[in-house]
Symmetry: C2
Amino acid sequence: MIGAIHETGAINNMQQKVHKLFANIVDARYPKPACSACDLRDLWCLPMGLKGQQSKQLDGIINRRKRVKRGEYLYRAGDPFRSLYALRTGFFKTFLSSESGQDLVTGFHMTGELLGLDAICNDSHCCNAIALEDSEICEIPYSELECLCREIPALQHQFHKIMSREIARDHNLMALLSCMHADERLAAFLINLSQRFQVRGYSPVQFHLRMTRGEIGSYLGLKLETVSRTLSKFQDEGLISVQHKLLILNDLPRLKQIVERNHSSGALCKS
Amino acid sequence: MIGAIHETGAINNMQQKVHKLFANIVDARYPKPACSACDLRDLWCLPMGLKGQQSKQLDGIINRRKRVKRGEYLYRAGDPFRSLYALRTGFFKTFLSSESGQDLVTGFHMTGELLGLDAICNDSHCCNAIALEDSEICEIPYSELECLCREIPALQHQFHKIMSREIARDHNLMALLSCMHADERLAAFLINLSQRFQVRGYSPVQFHLRMTRGEIGSYLGLKLETVSRTLSKFQDEGLISVQHKLLILNDLPRLKQIVERNHSSGALCKS
DNA sequence: CGAGTACTTGAACAGTGTCAAGCTTAGTGG
DNA sequence: CCACTAAGCTTGACACTGTTCAAGTACTCG
């Protein structure tokens, strides 16, 4: 427990630094977003690997930044597809909804990720995207992106990579859903979140869950009661500390063991 | 039962016609494959929507057709990524394998489908592809495809659509794995196969399963015993007739009811 | 501060998984 | 062509994980 508190202190420092960094960049970017000045370029977002001039071309097609408040939809299933959305700051969930009223969460999305890729095939969105916290997105008109991809090979390649990664990621999630137990799923989920926060400069061992237990359950193919019980179990075992939405990972290595014991590829923890 | 036999007769006729059709096309195509003359152009394969001249450009980059015998690998996880593969005839499964020796089937692939899309992000294949029957594929060097996409907007758009569809499809499969019972999963699986056979000109109500019960189970997140039991149950209820690998769907509407009762979107049966 | 939502926990139950045995089929080699 | 073998399949009995239903608690937001 004492160890946990020490760690937490270090984390707070780190988070403060990162927050400052982000704040600076946001200030510098007003009033128009600029891929060329965007901190997400290191994060597999579209501008990754582009040179100065090319980035500016990408800036040219990106519509003004849009704010999406917590609880608001970015798009709904059935909406006509015009644009992809790069998530600048915030947190989204995407979900399918069936007529019977059951929602199924297909993903949680963080800074730097691209939303709407599954809509290209239909010319309409086939899932819903809703902000789980106040967020900011860059709207990228798809037809213009296609044009630009024809001019800038590096952009084209990066775009293909992003789509491909989405496919590979889904396959890993399918693996999780097919053959993991509740505790393994949850451990994999926490490790995944941890890694994604870390890449973005946040603490990998302490973070706020933006989603409810029910949403986690929906994503992992479990009922919310099972999620709750499993979190409690992890806490009893000293692996984590949970206080409502605040999560501290006290023993990341042992958490990884839970996943790797039966699924040594570790593929399931990938972003 | 008598109804089933009548249906079967009709199906055999249909299948013969289709086989003939395919045979003609195959003959016409020797010794080099030609997208411009390929029957798969109606099937969401890459040449879909391309005009004559454009198709020929695509022909230009496609390497000679390759045969893959049943049981042979088309590629393995870890192989360097150079090409995508369009499946001309035959049947493949793709699967992840973990070090612990567990395989996990991520997809079954039929004529007209594109394999290897998940490898773009890593420059190496992250799953294995193995032929479940003697097959023929067109190898499409990826870097040349990217070049050509920059020249032919219609090809670029079609390629993006194919990737997007793969993502949307995976989301539907995740939905199946997250919230369906064994009988619903299997019903959805059979309907899916049925529709894919139908689109390809084969009977939607009678076909050979190319995969084992274990592979079906792996794909659907069930054990092979459960697959076997559920098939037996469906047979007892008169929904289907199974004889080893030969499958007859006697009551497609009722099969659909099983899926739609609890999951009315029906999304899960999509291609 | 109050109402509604989210969360935790318990107990009973159902659906799959596990283990085991026996059967069928396909493929191999004599 | 037949016999043999290995792989695939079916079925039963039982165990166990996760779900369901229910009750109570804690938080959040207006």
